[in-house]
């Protein structure tokens, strides 16, 4: 076996989520063809990965949302890796942005960070656990943005 290109493309969590759910549907439809040792590995890894991604905000995204997010991000001049991290994590606080964007104090002013936060939270849908705790965390979020 030969690896031609170990870094052909970066995938967002949403794309992997989509791929795995389609794969699961396909295998369910074709019936119980082979639950041999070989398929067990695939089953195990797809189940675990799906479980992990389902708990992140990527679950509620769609190709249109991702496209909209990327066009909105063009003006902020971020690297590909930074945009991917924002897409996968959907940061809601300035601290998170500082972690994901390198040298954010030098590259972005506070208003830009606020604008970035606003774009992220308005375009990307909230994750499954965030939806549950929305009412309680709203007050906390307000307090964190004030000292800025």
């Amino acid at each position: 076996m030969e690896v031609k290109d170990a870094n052909a493309a970066l995938l967002s969590n949403y794309e992997v989520y989509q791929l795995l759910t389609d794969l699961k549907e396909q295998r369910k439809e074709s019936g119980k063809n082979k639950h041999s040792a070989g398929q067990q590995n695939l089953n195990a890894i797809t189940y675990e990965t799906l479980k992990y991604i389902s708990k992140t905000p990527c679950r509620n995204q769609s190709p249109a949302i991702v496209q909209e997010f990327l066009t909105a991000m063009k003006s902020h001049k971020l690297t590909k890796a930074e945009k991917l991290q924002l897409l996968n994590h959907r940061p809601m606080t300035a601290v998170e942005i500082q972690l994901m964007v390198e040298e954010s104090e030098e590259r972005l002013t506070e208003e830009q960070i606020e604008a970035l936060l606003h774009t992220v939270t308005s375009i990307l849908p909230a994750g499954p656990e965030d939806e549950q705790s929305k009412s309680t965390s709203n007050d906390v979020a307000m307090e964190e943005e004030d000292p800025a």
Binding site: V3, A8, A9, V16, Y52, A81, H89, L99
Partner: protein, 197 residues
């Protein structure tokens, strides 16, 4: 977190599967071979993304199966350097905090990378962050099952392929060096705790 890796391999299809479509047999064989396995210096393979090219299939004398050279792309878990990930604490040991992502378990946060000052509580076997404020020190425990955010600092691939019978003596001494037998481990400094909801 996930990357697409282009690979080439020769897939063997046994004769009793000839009635199936070649694409399906090839996809199944590739998944059987690579899913949930670590490829040296590449990462943890998740599942097949697509098949880019199928070359001609050959049948060799003495073997009834067909051999097809396949160019394909595979989804691999391989976080880049400085990527932020969210995981659950699996446990603590004097070596550091062990974090798991569900599908990938071998993530270690060494004590040097924890928020200082931190100390290991022997009685409860947990790492504690002693956070100093004006009122006094608050002890923040790293309990099992808690979700934490961390940044990937280093990765190490260990070649766990079996050694031949001749070189057994020479190889055994070099394999003892990396303590972690897992073929792929991540080392990461702890960033912050996800706020408890």
């Amino acid at each position: 977190m996930f990357v697409l890796v282009e690979m080439v391999d020769t897939v063997r299809i046994p004769p009793w599967q000839f009635e199936r479509k070649l694409n399906d047999s090839v996809a199944e064989e590739l998944n059987k071979k690579l899913a949930n396995k670590v490829v040296y210096n590449v990462g943890l393979c998740i599942c097949l993304f697509d098949i880019t090219k199928l070359e001609d299939a050959y049948v060799f004398p003495g073997d009834g199966a067909s051999h097809t050279k396949v160019h394909f792309r595979y989804v691999v878990f391989h976080p880049f350097l400085d990527e932020i990930l969210i995981g659950k604490i699996k446990g603590c040991s004097p070596e550091g905090v062990h974090v798991s992502l569900g599908f990938f378990d071998d993530i270690l946060i060494p004590p040097e990378s924890l928020q200082q000052p931190a100390k290991f509580d022997e009685a409860e076997q947990v790492w504690v962050w002693e956070y100093e404020t004006e009122e006094g020190a608050h002890d923040l425990y790293m309990d099992t099952g808690e979700e934490i955010r961390f940044r990937v600092v280093d990765e190490s691939f260990v070649d766990t392929s079996p050694t031949g019978p001749n070189s057994a003596e020479a190889a055994s001494s070099s394999e003892e060096l990396p303590k972690k037998e897992a073929p792929y481990t991540l080392v990461a400094p702890w960033i912050e705790r996800r706020p408890r909801t």
